[in-house]
Symmetry: C2
Subunit: 83 residues, 2 copies
């Protein structure tokens, strides 16, 4: 199941989840991504409207990529919500 993000809050949550799934601390991830722990924290808590480049750095460090897809395309998660 892939994660969907429509807001910065979503994005922060997804990133945190992905980081934890990899057993990385914010400091670890920051080092991997070439940014600061402070920034990782800010982004995960949606404390700032991050820059796209920073997000791409994080995604790359987490081995993730962005797929841009039409909204309203129903997902397995949606089905689970219904049934």
């Amino acid at each position: 199941m892939d994660q969907i993000a429509r807001t910065t809050k979503d994005l922060g949550n997804v990133l945190r989840k992905a980081r934890k799934a990899r057993n990385l601390t914010q400091a670890d991830l920051a080092t991997l991504a070439g940014i600061w722990q402070r920034t990782v924290s800010n982004i995960e808590t949606s404390a700032s409207g991050a820059k796209v480049d920073t997000i791409f750095d994080l995604l790359a460090a987490l081995d993730l990529e962005l797929h841009i897809v039409p909204r309203s395309k129903m997902t397995l998660g949606d089905l689970e919500d219904i049934f």
Copy 2:
């Protein structure tokens, strides 16, 4: 087929493609997204490392959403490249 973006350049291209597919001008889209034509142009041409919030505004206006998925998950496009 959904679009993949790993860089701001990718993202700009995807957004432009989506906008054109909807027969919108940059000015139209800007209005829809509540931003400026100047900004749409900048983002489509990767002339600036945009802010995430701006991207979300654009995606919403284009009825698109972000899916965050593990990299290297093979896509149909990849297969087409191989065969």
